[in-house]
């Protein structure tokens, strides 16, 4: 079933205790697409400037399932850039610089051939933009959105409108607390279901994720990662693996969503072992399935 993602494509500069990567391929939709492609074909919609290196397009296209017909190279514009620095424990980071560039201009056009997309992931952006995008895919089977603290604080009414129109919401624990004013995340998840979505996934970074679905809960720890080189894109690749698995199964049941979260967890666990997409380029579906089995065994009693 066709899966589509819209979001940022960027050139990152990352500093971490494990090293430094300058002029590195990044962006939420890039991490998402690469991760999803192990499970289902994925359509990538996003704009870059004419400074975007050709080798980055080759990297994106090295992921066989990624369709780049929706990747616009805008002449005269510059690519989104992000510069961040991780703290010693790798769980916190500071943003040193953000250059919105093409992300601050008009949205890229959506190819006609993409309008039949059934599985839609609205990566984090202004909720008005997410609502506008939603209208582009009238035949959708499933729409899942990501959001962030900025929109919860500044655009709550329009975000609440969006929540009534989507099937699933993905956000992190502090955002869930901010949105619902519930400090207990289990209660926060319950409160989010009352705002519209049929399910919500609360990401806790190195501590795993919680799913609240009409039929119950799923809780999964993160994969115990000893070799964390660069956590950038972990949340996006988690969402990509999850949506790819859902698009492949075509099922929105609690067991299917639990499996999808496990797929997201495992892809993210590989992603963070190297800078940018390096590690994901080295693995295949069999590698992922092997770690899925290992991960399952770690929770089996």
């Amino acid at each position: 079933m066709p899966l589509i993602v819209t979001g940022s494509i960027g050139i990152d500069h990352i500093e971490a205790p494990t090293g430094e990567a300058k002029e590195s391929l990044g962006g939420s939709s890039v991490y998402f697409s690469a991760a999803a492609s192990f499970f289902a074909p994925v359509r990538l919609v996003g704009a870059v400037g004419d400074d975007f290196p050709n080798r980055f397009i080759e990297t994106i296209e090295s992921f066989k399932g990624v369709d780049t017909a929706g990747l616009e190279i805008r002449t005269g514009s510059k690519t989104f850039r992000w510069h961040g620095k991780y703290h010693e424990n790798m769980n916190h980071r500071d943003t040193l610089e953000t250059q919105l560039n093409v992300l601050g201009e008009a949205l890229p056009p959506i190819p006609e051939a993409y309008r039949d997309s059934k599985y839609v992931f609205l990566a984090n952006t202004h909720p008005a933009g997410q609502l506008a995008l939603l209208k582009e895919f009238p035949d959708h089977t499933l729409v899942v959105a990501d959001t962030m603290d900025l929109w919860i604080e500044t655009e709550r009414p329009i975000l609440l409108d969006l929540l009534k129109q989507i099937d699933g919401l993905v956000l992190n624990d502090s955002e869930a607390t901010m949105l619902t004013e519930e400090s207990n995340i289990v209660n926060a998840a319950d409160a989010i279901l009352k705002l519209g979505p049929k399910f919500v996934v609360i990401k806790k970074g190195e501590h795993g994720a919680l799913l609240r679905h009409a039929d119950g809960h799923a809780v999964l720890p993160a994969y115990p990662a000893a070799n964390v080189v660069d956590p950038t894109g972990a949340g996006d690749s988690f969402a990509g693996g999850m949506m790819g698995s859902l698009a492949a199964s075509g099922e929105l049941s609690l067991p299917s969503l639990t499996k999808a979260m496990a797929c997201g967890t495992v892809v993210a666990s590989y992603l963070i072992e190297a800078f940018s997409l390096t590690k994901l380029q080295e693995i295949d579906r069999a590698t992922i399935d092997a770690r899925l089995n290992e991960y399952r065994a770690m929770m089996t009693f």
Copy 2:
């Protein structure tokens, strides 16, 4: 197989956003014993003063598997007291007052009949005391110790000596980092195995626990608890459920330890639903098994 625990028995004063409990039964070995008793008989060694209310002894003895022959009521002494206050999110607390009282005096004698104990839990106390206690149980099958930041900082040489003589260590994530100087807890767990223990359980509170065993890892999330009234004793009841399950199974394999961690997780999830031991008094093994099944389903994919 007989399980023994030594540790504090206390009178707590707890303030939380959910209410206040004055003159409330607490102490690490009390929480441990009550939790373990659902799985295996447990011998409790500890001292209280003559201010210890009779009703507290009745509460302890209401847990059928708890043997209180090792509970000394010391005339002229006062019971250990702890006064703590939880923050709004229930995950952090401040200690407002501690009165060591009888805990600062001589250790209670260990009944002769307890010397054949096979499963030994050395609750958190000075590691010299833990080493002395260890010698009292020459026929042990399994010794597991808890520790804390204070001993890691101030008594490292003797703690390292203890680690060479025990089978398992239980501690929380910040303590694991402090002990090993590894900020990644997976690496910290590996480093702890090199110090002697055959396994280590790193507790992450509301985020679950990680086990490192010679044969591999187990990772379990916490049970998603919506109704958190009082987290006091959660770590001790986790350890109690875990050791009770191990004593019942008699197996120290990775699958047996994973099951034991799940038992600890579920007993702790009940404990925190009310002040002191109130909730544990209301449940039985069948209640625990039902939640174990529910918890397992939340991770099944």
